[in-house]
């Protein structure tokens, strides 16, 4: 397939990189010719996952966030990985409104990822880190041939 592509990147867990990473992933996803709503869903979900690495995984420290992204058969896959504190109880963590933070977090990060993407998979080992894998199918639209 012509549009198969992938990239990987590593950024520091600085809060200014939240906007950087979501704009990189959305620039990458543009080759799938997504709708405005699809792009905005992707940006929002990626922003949640990256923010979690910064706020939870590497709380009070600076660590590395690893992003892997690929496009295949019109599906965008984004994998966001940290080597931070990990999650003890993933099921509980994914419940809407659950948060371990007192810093005005709404506890809705996972809920946003779940509802804005087609699928989410979370793997985590306490003390080792967490990997969140997000997938979204981008609908093929008629004419618009990209140059």
């Amino acid at each position: 397939m012509k549009s198969e592509n992938s990239f990987s990147m590593t950024v520091l867990s600085k809060s200014s990189n939240e906007s950087f990473v979501r704009s990189v992933v959305s620039a990458f996803a543009l080759s799938l010719d997504p709708t405005v709503e699809e792009i905005s869903d992707i940006k929002t979900a990626v922003s949640e996952a990256v923010t979690n690495c910064i706020v939870h995984a590497y709380k009070d420290t600076i660590g590395k966030i690893y992003i892997n992204c690929d496009i295949k058969d019109n599906v965008l896959t984004v994998k966001i990985r940290d080597r931070g504190i990990g999650i003890e109880n993933i099921e509980q963590a994914m419940e809407p409104l659950f948060t371990t933070s007192d810093d005005e977090r709404a506890g809705l990060g996972f809920a946003v990822m779940q509802s804005f993407m087609d699928s989410i998979r979370v793997r985590s080992v306490v003390g080792k880190g967490t990997t969140v894998t997000l997938k979204k199918h981008i609908s093929v639209r008629y004419a618009t041939k990209k140059q």
């Binding site: 939240e18 906007s19 929002t44 910064i54 005005e104 709404a106």
Partner: protein, 109 residues
């Protein structure tokens, strides 16, 4: 990111401009809370018309301001949210606590 604050009588309007995420929410929160402290409004209006992006940090921001204004017996309205912003807000069930109005164009749909 910027916040424009306008005070008219008992009404404090905070117009948010740009992208709201965890990084920018901290600054917005400080600005608005300082203005509440100073003006003691009975109604706080958060205007999202010029917000171009928001993740769940924005929900935390609205909830936090709701708590702040409620404890002073004031009310909170959210206006001007574009579809992407509204989508995040709806997910949170915010509308049960706060008066939500989408931006005028969108509301007609």
């Amino acid at each position: 990111m910027a916040v424009d604050i306008v005070v008219k009588g008992e009404v404090l309007t905070a117009r948010l401009v740009g992208e709201i995420d965890h990084h920018t929410a901290y600054y917005i929160r400080k600005e608005i809370d300082a203005a509440i402290e100073l003006n003691m409004p009975s109604l706080l209006i958060l205007d999202f018309e010029r917000v171009t992006f928001m993740d769940s940090s924005g929900i935390g921001l609205v909830m936090g301001r709701y708590k702040n204004i409620s404890k002073r017996c004031g009310e909170l309205h959210v206006v001007g949210a574009k579809p992407q912003i509204y989508k995040v807000m709806k997910l949170s069930g915010l509308e049960r606590l706060v008066k939500l109005e989408m931006c005028s164009q969108e509301a007609k749909k």
